[in-house]
Amino acid sequence: MSSGNPIPLRVSNKQASVWDIDDIAKLRSHHHICGVLAGTLPHLSQQNVFLGVPLLLMPEEVVLLVEKKLAVLVDDTNAHRDPTPTALSRWDSERLRGVERQLALAEEHDAKEALNPDRAMSEKAIRKRKEREEKRAHGKSTTTDTSQEIPEEDPSLFAPTNHDLPGFDSHPKSSGAPSSHTSGVTAPPQTSTLPYTIQVPGASSTFEWYDHSAHSFATLAAAREAGVWDYPTTPAERARCGVFQDLWEQGYFMGGGIKFGGEYLVYPGDPLRYHSHFVANVIESPEAALRPMEIIAHGRLGTGTKKSHLLCEWDDDKKSVTYYSIEWAGFG
Protein backbone atom coordinates (compact mmCIF):
# COMPACT_ATOMS: atom_id res chain seq x y z
CA MET A 1 0.00 0.00 0.00
CA SER A 2 1.61 3.29 -1.11
CA SER A 3 1.81 5.96 1.55
CA GLY A 4 2.47 9.15 -0.37
CA ASN A 5 1.79 12.46 1.31
CA PRO A 6 -0.35 12.67 4.44
CA ILE A 7 -3.94 13.53 3.70
CA PRO A 8 -5.02 17.05 4.71
CA LEU A 9 -8.04 17.03 7.00
CA ARG A 10 -9.77 20.41 6.90
CA VAL A 11 -10.73 21.37 10.44
CA SER A 12 -13.32 24.03 11.11
CA ASN A 13 -14.88 24.46 14.54
CA LYS A 14 -13.28 21.18 15.73
CA GLN A 15 -14.96 19.18 12.94
CA ALA A 16 -12.76 17.55 10.32
CA SER A 17 -13.88 17.22 6.72
CA VAL A 18 -12.38 16.05 3.45
CA TRP A 19 -13.27 17.82 0.21
CA ASP A 20 -10.95 16.20 -2.32
CA ILE A 21 -12.39 13.12 -3.99
CA ASP A 22 -9.01 11.42 -4.35
CA ASP A 23 -8.36 11.77 -0.64
CA ILE A 24 -11.77 10.32 0.19
CA ALA A 25 -11.05 7.33 -2.05
CA LYS A 26 -7.61 6.88 -0.50
CA LEU A 27 -9.02 7.01 3.03
CA ARG A 28 -11.44 4.23 2.20
CA SER A 29 -9.31 1.96 0.05
CA HIS A 30 -5.88 2.37 1.68
CA HIS A 31 -6.76 3.18 5.28
CA HIS A 32 -10.21 1.54 5.67
CA ILE A 33 -11.69 4.73 7.10
CA CYS A 34 -15.11 5.37 5.58
CA GLY A 35 -16.47 8.52 7.18
CA VAL A 36 -19.87 9.90 6.26
CA LEU A 37 -20.67 11.98 3.16
CA ALA A 38 -22.70 15.00 4.18
CA GLY A 39 -23.05 17.26 1.15
CA THR A 40 -25.95 17.75 -1.23
CA LEU A 41 -25.56 16.39 -4.73
CA PRO A 42 -26.48 19.20 -7.12
CA HIS A 43 -28.16 16.89 -9.62
CA LEU A 44 -30.14 15.07 -6.91
CA SER A 45 -30.80 17.79 -4.41
CA GLN A 46 -34.28 16.76 -3.26
CA GLN A 47 -33.18 13.64 -1.41
CA ASN A 48 -30.62 12.66 1.16
CA VAL A 49 -30.05 8.98 0.52
CA PHE A 50 -27.19 9.76 -1.86
CA LEU A 51 -24.93 12.54 -0.63
CA GLY A 52 -21.66 14.04 -1.81
CA VAL A 53 -18.65 15.94 -0.50
CA PRO A 54 -17.61 16.86 2.13
CA LEU A 55 -16.77 13.65 3.94
CA LEU A 56 -17.13 14.09 7.70
CA LEU A 57 -14.93 12.10 10.04
CA MET A 58 -15.52 10.95 13.62
CA PRO A 59 -13.05 12.47 16.07
CA GLU A 60 -11.69 8.98 16.79
CA GLU A 61 -10.95 8.55 13.08
CA VAL A 62 -9.11 11.89 12.99
CA VAL A 63 -7.02 11.02 16.06
CA LEU A 64 -6.05 7.67 14.58
CA LEU A 65 -5.07 9.11 11.18
CA VAL A 66 -2.91 11.86 12.69
CA GLU A 67 -1.22 9.57 15.23
CA LYS A 68 -0.39 7.08 12.49
CA LYS A 69 1.04 9.94 10.39
CA LEU A 70 -1.49 9.24 7.64
CA ALA A 71 -3.04 12.69 7.79
CA VAL A 72 -2.39 16.24 8.97
CA LEU A 73 -4.84 18.74 10.42
CA VAL A 74 -5.41 21.97 8.49
CA ASP A 75 -6.77 25.09 10.13
CA ASP A 76 -9.21 25.65 7.28
CA THR A 77 -10.47 29.08 8.29
CA ASN A 78 -7.00 30.59 8.34
CA ALA A 79 -5.87 28.69 5.27
CA HIS A 80 -8.36 30.75 3.27
CA ARG A 81 -6.36 33.93 2.71
CA ASP A 82 -7.63 37.13 1.17
CA PRO A 83 -6.86 36.98 -2.56
CA THR A 84 -4.51 39.61 -4.00
CA PRO A 85 -5.95 41.77 -6.80
CA THR A 86 -3.80 39.98 -9.40
CA ALA A 87 -4.88 36.53 -8.15
CA LEU A 88 -8.49 37.67 -8.26
CA SER A 89 -8.21 39.00 -11.83
CA ARG A 90 -6.51 35.75 -12.88
CA TRP A 91 -9.41 33.77 -11.41
CA ASP A 92 -11.94 36.03 -13.13
CA SER A 93 -10.33 35.82 -16.56
CA GLU A 94 -10.07 32.04 -16.23
CA ARG A 95 -13.77 31.97 -15.43
CA LEU A 96 -14.63 34.16 -18.45
CA ARG A 97 -12.48 31.99 -20.71
CA GLY A 98 -14.44 28.97 -19.50
CA VAL A 99 -17.72 30.67 -20.38
CA GLU A 100 -16.41 31.62 -23.83
CA ARG A 101 -15.33 28.02 -24.44
CA GLN A 102 -18.81 26.76 -23.60
CA LEU A 103 -20.49 29.31 -25.88
CA ALA A 104 -18.09 28.50 -28.73
CA LEU A 105 -18.90 24.80 -28.39
CA ALA A 106 -22.62 25.52 -28.39
CA GLU A 107 -22.33 27.67 -31.52
CA GLU A 108 -20.30 24.99 -33.26
CA HIS A 109 -23.06 22.54 -32.46
CA ASP A 110 -25.65 24.95 -33.82
CA ALA A 111 -23.68 25.31 -37.05
CA LYS A 112 -23.56 21.53 -37.48
CA GLU A 113 -27.30 21.29 -37.00
CA ALA A 114 -27.90 24.12 -39.51
CA LEU A 115 -25.82 22.32 -42.19
CA ASN A 116 -27.84 19.18 -41.76
CA PRO A 117 -31.42 20.27 -41.00
CA ASP A 118 -32.96 16.93 -41.94
CA ARG A 119 -30.84 15.06 -39.42
CA ALA A 120 -33.60 15.43 -36.83
CA MET A 121 -36.13 13.91 -39.18
CA SER A 122 -34.13 10.90 -40.38
CA GLU A 123 -35.61 7.48 -39.72
CA LYS A 124 -32.99 6.68 -37.10
CA ALA A 125 -33.67 9.93 -35.25
CA ILE A 126 -37.44 9.38 -35.31
CA ARG A 127 -37.02 5.87 -33.93
CA LYS A 128 -34.69 7.02 -31.17
CA ARG A 129 -37.03 9.83 -30.21
CA LYS A 130 -39.89 7.35 -29.90
CA GLU A 131 -37.84 5.05 -27.67
CA ARG A 132 -36.85 7.94 -25.44
CA GLU A 133 -40.44 9.09 -25.08
CA GLU A 134 -41.52 5.60 -24.11
CA LYS A 135 -38.78 5.38 -21.50
CA ARG A 136 -39.77 8.77 -20.14
CA ALA A 137 -43.42 7.66 -19.88
CA HIS A 138 -42.34 4.68 -17.75
CA GLY A 139 -40.04 6.63 -15.49
CA LYS A 140 -42.23 9.72 -15.25
CA SER A 141 -42.72 9.51 -11.48
CA THR A 142 -38.99 9.49 -10.71
CA THR A 143 -37.56 12.05 -13.14
CA THR A 144 -36.85 15.63 -12.14
CA ASP A 145 -38.26 18.56 -14.08
CA THR A 146 -35.02 19.69 -15.66
CA SER A 147 -34.34 16.40 -17.43
CA GLN A 148 -37.81 16.49 -18.97
CA GLU A 149 -36.90 19.72 -20.64
CA ILE A 150 -34.36 18.26 -23.00
CA PRO A 151 -36.23 17.94 -26.27
CA GLU A 152 -34.15 16.90 -29.21
CA GLU A 153 -35.70 19.51 -31.49
CA ASP A 154 -34.37 22.52 -29.58
CA PRO A 155 -30.61 22.70 -30.00
CA SER A 156 -30.28 26.05 -28.27
CA LEU A 157 -30.61 24.54 -24.80
CA PHE A 158 -27.22 23.83 -23.27
CA ALA A 159 -27.89 20.13 -22.76
CA PRO A 160 -28.23 18.85 -26.31
CA THR A 161 -28.57 15.25 -27.45
CA ASN A 162 -26.15 12.89 -25.78
CA HIS A 163 -23.25 12.33 -28.13
CA ASP A 164 -21.52 15.66 -28.49
CA LEU A 165 -20.53 16.66 -24.99
CA PRO A 166 -18.37 14.25 -23.07
CA GLY A 167 -19.52 12.94 -19.73
CA PHE A 168 -23.14 14.05 -20.01
CA ASP A 169 -25.73 11.37 -19.60
CA SER A 170 -29.20 12.44 -20.72
CA HIS A 171 -30.90 9.33 -19.38
CA PRO A 172 -33.41 10.63 -16.84
CA LYS A 173 -32.70 7.91 -14.31
CA SER A 174 -28.95 8.44 -14.03
CA SER A 175 -27.95 8.94 -10.44
CA GLY A 176 -24.17 8.89 -10.74
CA ALA A 177 -22.20 11.60 -8.93
CA PRO A 178 -21.30 14.60 -11.07
CA SER A 179 -17.69 15.05 -12.19
CA SER A 180 -15.37 15.88 -9.36
CA HIS A 181 -14.88 19.43 -8.22
CA THR A 182 -17.84 20.90 -10.16
CA SER A 183 -21.48 21.54 -9.63
CA GLY A 184 -23.63 22.86 -12.49
CA VAL A 185 -26.24 25.55 -12.38
CA THR A 186 -27.84 27.03 -15.50
CA ALA A 187 -27.94 30.82 -15.48
CA PRO A 188 -29.49 33.36 -17.84
CA PRO A 189 -27.08 34.33 -20.64
CA GLN A 190 -25.38 37.72 -20.64
CA THR A 191 -24.20 38.75 -24.08
CA SER A 192 -25.38 35.81 -26.23
CA THR A 193 -28.73 34.10 -26.28
CA LEU A 194 -27.15 30.78 -25.32
CA PRO A 195 -27.07 29.64 -21.68
CA TYR A 196 -23.88 28.34 -20.02
CA THR A 197 -23.03 26.49 -16.85
CA ILE A 198 -21.40 28.15 -13.85
CA GLN A 199 -18.95 25.77 -12.25
CA VAL A 200 -18.24 25.89 -8.53
CA PRO A 201 -15.28 23.79 -7.37
CA GLY A 202 -15.94 21.57 -4.38
CA ALA A 203 -12.46 21.88 -2.93
CA SER A 204 -10.87 25.19 -1.97
CA SER A 205 -7.46 23.72 -2.73
CA THR A 206 -7.94 24.80 -6.34
CA PHE A 207 -7.83 28.48 -5.37
CA GLU A 208 -4.54 30.36 -5.55
CA TRP A 209 -5.20 32.09 -2.23
CA TYR A 210 -5.82 28.83 -0.30
CA ASP A 211 -2.60 28.04 1.49
CA HIS A 212 -2.77 24.98 3.69
CA SER A 213 0.96 24.43 4.08
CA ALA A 214 1.29 27.36 6.47
CA HIS A 215 -1.60 26.16 8.61
CA SER A 216 -1.01 22.40 8.92
CA PHE A 217 -0.42 20.45 12.11
CA ALA A 218 1.24 17.07 11.95
CA THR A 219 0.66 16.21 15.62
CA LEU A 220 -2.35 16.41 17.90
CA ALA A 221 -0.27 18.30 20.46
CA ALA A 222 0.58 21.04 17.99
CA ALA A 223 -3.05 21.34 16.94
CA ARG A 224 -4.16 21.44 20.57
CA GLU A 225 -1.71 24.25 21.32
CA ALA A 226 -3.03 26.27 18.39
CA GLY A 227 -6.58 25.73 19.62
CA VAL A 228 -7.56 23.89 16.44
CA TRP A 229 -8.23 20.40 17.87
CA ASP A 230 -8.65 19.08 21.38
CA TYR A 231 -9.97 15.49 21.23
CA PRO A 232 -9.47 13.39 23.36
CA THR A 233 -9.76 15.28 26.62
CA THR A 234 -11.86 13.18 29.04
CA PRO A 235 -11.28 9.54 30.09
CA ALA A 236 -14.36 8.53 28.11
CA GLU A 237 -12.91 10.11 24.95
CA ARG A 238 -9.55 8.43 25.54
CA ALA A 239 -11.33 5.11 25.93
CA ARG A 240 -13.12 5.59 22.62
CA CYS A 241 -9.86 6.41 20.82
CA GLY A 242 -8.16 3.38 22.37
CA VAL A 243 -10.92 0.98 21.37
CA PHE A 244 -11.28 2.45 17.90
CA GLN A 245 -7.56 2.14 17.26
CA ASP A 246 -7.46 -1.46 18.48
CA LEU A 247 -10.33 -2.48 16.23
CA TRP A 248 -8.79 -0.59 13.28
CA GLU A 249 -5.45 -2.33 13.77
CA GLN A 250 -7.24 -5.65 13.49
CA GLY A 251 -8.43 -4.59 10.06
CA TYR A 252 -12.08 -3.84 10.80
CA PHE A 253 -14.09 -1.07 9.14
CA MET A 254 -16.12 0.98 11.64
CA GLY A 255 -19.28 2.97 11.16
CA GLY A 256 -21.72 4.73 13.47
CA GLY A 257 -23.87 2.39 15.52
CA ILE A 258 -26.98 4.51 16.06
CA LYS A 259 -29.18 2.28 13.91
CA PHE A 260 -28.42 -0.74 16.09
CA GLY A 261 -28.25 0.78 19.54
CA GLY A 262 -24.49 0.87 19.98
CA GLU A 263 -21.53 3.16 19.48
CA TYR A 264 -19.92 1.53 16.46
CA LEU A 265 -20.85 -1.01 13.82
CA VAL A 266 -17.90 -3.28 13.13
CA TYR A 267 -17.58 -4.67 9.60
CA PRO A 268 -15.20 -7.42 8.46
CA GLY A 269 -14.67 -5.56 5.19
CA ASP A 270 -15.97 -2.62 3.20
CA PRO A 271 -19.52 -1.74 4.33
CA LEU A 272 -20.57 -1.67 0.66
CA ARG A 273 -19.87 -5.39 0.49
CA TYR A 274 -20.59 -6.75 3.96
CA HIS A 275 -23.13 -6.51 6.76
CA SER A 276 -21.60 -5.81 10.13
CA HIS A 277 -21.18 -8.75 12.50
CA PHE A 278 -20.85 -6.66 15.62
CA VAL A 279 -22.31 -3.69 17.42
CA ALA A 280 -19.69 -2.30 19.77
CA ASN A 281 -19.92 -0.34 22.99
CA VAL A 282 -17.00 1.23 24.76
CA ILE A 283 -16.60 0.47 28.47
CA GLU A 284 -14.60 3.28 29.98
CA SER A 285 -12.66 1.20 32.54
CA PRO A 286 -12.61 -2.28 34.11
CA GLU A 287 -14.43 -0.92 37.16
CA ALA A 288 -17.08 1.07 35.28
CA ALA A 289 -20.59 0.12 36.35
CA LEU A 290 -22.31 -2.34 34.04
CA ARG A 291 -25.98 -2.98 34.74
CA PRO A 292 -27.50 -6.38 33.97
CA MET A 293 -30.30 -4.63 32.06
CA GLU A 294 -27.67 -3.32 29.61
CA ILE A 295 -26.48 -6.88 28.98
CA ILE A 296 -30.08 -7.93 28.30
CA ALA A 297 -30.88 -4.96 26.03
CA HIS A 298 -27.67 -5.11 24.00
CA GLY A 299 -27.61 -8.88 23.83
CA ARG A 300 -31.20 -9.29 22.72
CA LEU A 301 -30.98 -6.48 20.13
CA GLY A 302 -27.76 -7.94 18.76
CA THR A 303 -29.14 -11.44 18.48
CA GLY A 304 -32.36 -10.14 16.96
CA THR A 305 -30.38 -8.46 14.17
CA LYS A 306 -28.00 -11.37 13.52
CA LYS A 307 -25.10 -9.60 15.21
CA SER A 308 -23.13 -10.00 18.39
CA HIS A 309 -22.81 -7.17 20.83
CA LEU A 310 -19.23 -6.33 21.77
CA LEU A 311 -18.31 -4.87 25.12
CA CYS A 312 -14.94 -3.22 24.56
CA GLU A 313 -13.25 -2.51 27.87
CA TRP A 314 -10.47 0.08 27.86
CA ASP A 315 -7.84 -0.12 30.56
CA ASP A 316 -6.21 3.31 30.75
CA ASP A 317 -3.34 2.02 32.93
CA LYS A 318 -2.38 -0.89 30.71
CA LYS A 319 -3.50 0.92 27.53
CA SER A 320 -5.16 -2.26 26.33
CA VAL A 321 -8.60 -3.40 25.17
CA THR A 322 -10.43 -6.54 26.34
CA TYR A 323 -13.42 -7.76 24.37
CA TYR A 324 -16.48 -9.68 25.53
CA SER A 325 -19.16 -10.78 23.07
CA ILE A 326 -22.76 -10.85 24.27
CA GLU A 327 -25.50 -13.01 22.78
CA TRP A 328 -28.88 -14.17 23.95
CA ALA A 329 -28.43 -17.69 25.30
CA GLY A 330 -31.38 -19.09 23.40
CA PHE A 331 -32.85 -20.91 26.36
CA GLY A 332 -34.52 -20.00 29.63
Binding site: Q250, H277, F278, I283, P286, E287, A288, A289, L290, R291, P292, M293, I295, I296, G299, G302, T303, K306, K307, S308, L310, L311, E313, T322, Y323, Y324, S325, I326, E327, W328, A329, G330, F331, G332
Partner: protein
Amino acid sequence: MQAHPSHPQLTQLLSAYPKSAGAFFQTYNDVTLAQKWSNIEVIDLPECQRGAIKGLRSSLTAGEPPSTCVVVPCSLAESLSTSWIRDAFARLGADAPDAIFVAICAEDSSIVYYKISKGIVKPQI
Protein backbone atom coordinates in the same frame (compact mmCIF):
# COMPACT_ATOMS: atom_id res chain seq x y z
CA MET B 1 -35.83 -21.65 51.33
CA GLN B 2 -34.51 -24.01 54.04
CA ALA B 3 -37.41 -26.42 53.57
CA HIS B 4 -36.73 -26.75 49.85
CA PRO B 5 -35.26 -30.12 48.74
CA SER B 6 -32.36 -28.48 46.91
CA HIS B 7 -31.29 -26.55 49.98
CA PRO B 8 -28.86 -29.05 51.51
CA GLN B 9 -26.49 -28.90 48.46
CA LEU B 10 -26.55 -25.12 48.51
CA THR B 11 -26.32 -24.32 52.25
CA GLN B 12 -22.63 -23.59 52.26
CA LEU B 13 -22.65 -21.10 49.40
CA LEU B 14 -25.96 -19.55 50.44
CA SER B 15 -24.61 -18.68 53.85
CA ALA B 16 -21.20 -17.61 52.52
CA TYR B 17 -22.71 -15.09 50.11
CA PRO B 18 -26.04 -13.90 51.49
CA LYS B 19 -26.37 -10.98 49.06
CA SER B 20 -26.51 -13.28 46.04
CA ALA B 21 -28.45 -16.02 47.83
CA GLY B 22 -31.74 -15.20 46.15
CA ALA B 23 -30.37 -15.25 42.60
CA PHE B 24 -28.22 -18.32 43.30
CA PHE B 25 -31.13 -20.33 44.71
CA GLN B 26 -33.45 -19.29 41.88
CA THR B 27 -30.94 -20.13 39.16
CA TYR B 28 -29.99 -23.50 40.69
CA ASN B 29 -33.61 -24.61 40.73
CA ASP B 30 -34.32 -23.33 37.23
CA VAL B 31 -31.28 -25.10 35.81
CA THR B 32 -32.03 -28.44 37.53
CA LEU B 33 -35.83 -28.51 37.24
CA ALA B 34 -36.81 -26.34 34.25
CA GLN B 35 -33.77 -26.40 31.97
CA LYS B 36 -33.08 -29.96 33.10
CA TRP B 37 -29.32 -29.92 32.92
CA SER B 38 -27.46 -33.00 34.13
CA ASN B 39 -24.26 -33.63 36.11
CA ILE B 40 -24.86 -30.49 38.09
CA GLU B 41 -22.19 -29.13 40.44
CA VAL B 42 -21.81 -25.87 42.29
CA ILE B 43 -18.62 -23.80 42.06
CA ASP B 44 -17.34 -21.15 44.44
CA LEU B 45 -16.36 -17.81 42.84
CA PRO B 46 -14.98 -15.77 45.76
CA GLU B 47 -13.80 -12.87 43.59
CA CYS B 48 -17.36 -12.49 42.33
CA GLN B 49 -18.80 -13.04 45.83
CA ARG B 50 -21.18 -15.77 44.74
CA GLY B 51 -21.53 -19.37 43.71
CA ALA B 52 -21.86 -20.56 40.12
CA ILE B 53 -23.50 -23.67 38.66
CA LYS B 54 -21.92 -26.03 36.17
CA GLY B 55 -23.72 -28.75 34.26
CA LEU B 56 -24.35 -30.56 31.00
CA ARG B 57 -26.88 -28.86 28.77
CA SER B 58 -28.40 -30.96 26.03
CA SER B 59 -28.15 -29.44 22.59
CA LEU B 60 -31.15 -27.95 20.82
CA THR B 61 -30.30 -29.70 17.56
CA ALA B 62 -30.78 -33.46 17.43
CA GLY B 63 -27.66 -35.57 17.18
CA GLU B 64 -25.35 -33.05 18.80
CA PRO B 65 -23.69 -34.01 22.10
CA PRO B 66 -24.54 -32.08 25.27
CA SER B 67 -22.15 -29.28 26.20
CA THR B 68 -20.68 -28.28 29.55
CA CYS B 69 -21.96 -24.88 30.58
CA VAL B 70 -21.23 -22.63 33.53
CA VAL B 71 -23.86 -20.16 34.64
CA VAL B 72 -23.20 -17.29 37.02
CA PRO B 73 -26.32 -15.87 38.70
CA CYS B 74 -26.91 -12.20 39.38
CA SER B 75 -29.80 -9.96 40.28
CA LEU B 76 -31.32 -7.39 37.96
CA ALA B 77 -30.70 -4.74 40.60
CA GLU B 78 -26.97 -5.39 40.90
CA SER B 79 -24.14 -3.37 39.47
CA LEU B 80 -21.55 -5.46 37.64
CA SER B 81 -18.40 -4.56 35.72
CA THR B 82 -16.11 -6.06 33.11
CA SER B 83 -13.56 -6.87 35.80
CA TRP B 84 -16.27 -8.97 37.49
CA ILE B 85 -16.59 -10.89 34.20
CA ARG B 86 -12.80 -11.22 34.00
CA ASP B 87 -12.66 -12.56 37.56
CA ALA B 88 -15.28 -15.18 36.81
CA PHE B 89 -13.32 -16.47 33.81
CA ALA B 90 -10.08 -16.37 35.79
CA ARG B 91 -11.47 -18.33 38.74
CA LEU B 92 -12.82 -21.05 36.44
CA GLY B 93 -9.20 -21.77 35.68
CA ALA B 94 -7.31 -23.29 32.80
CA ASP B 95 -10.14 -25.57 31.73
CA ALA B 96 -12.67 -22.74 31.71
CA PRO B 97 -15.03 -22.72 28.76
CA ASP B 98 -14.73 -19.97 26.13
CA ALA B 99 -18.10 -18.62 27.20
CA ILE B 100 -20.03 -18.36 30.44
CA PHE B 101 -23.70 -17.76 30.91
CA VAL B 102 -25.03 -15.08 33.16
CA ALA B 103 -28.46 -15.72 34.67
CA ILE B 104 -30.17 -12.41 35.39
CA CYS B 105 -32.89 -12.86 38.00
CA ALA B 106 -35.78 -10.54 38.62
CA GLU B 107 -37.80 -10.28 41.81
CA ASP B 108 -40.83 -11.89 40.20
CA SER B 109 -38.78 -15.05 39.56
CA SER B 110 -38.17 -14.36 35.87
CA ILE B 111 -34.74 -15.46 34.71
CA VAL B 112 -33.01 -14.57 31.44
CA TYR B 113 -29.79 -16.18 30.31
CA TYR B 114 -27.16 -14.41 28.27
CA LYS B 115 -23.97 -15.84 26.85
CA ILE B 116 -20.76 -13.90 27.41
CA SER B 117 -17.77 -15.04 25.34
CA LYS B 118 -14.17 -13.99 25.76
CA GLY B 119 -12.89 -12.04 22.78
CA ILE B 120 -14.54 -11.08 19.51
CA VAL B 121 -16.82 -13.98 18.67
CA LYS B 122 -19.01 -13.89 15.57
CA PRO B 123 -22.71 -14.58 16.03
CA GLN B 124 -23.95 -18.05 15.18
CA ILE B 125 -25.99 -17.97 12.02
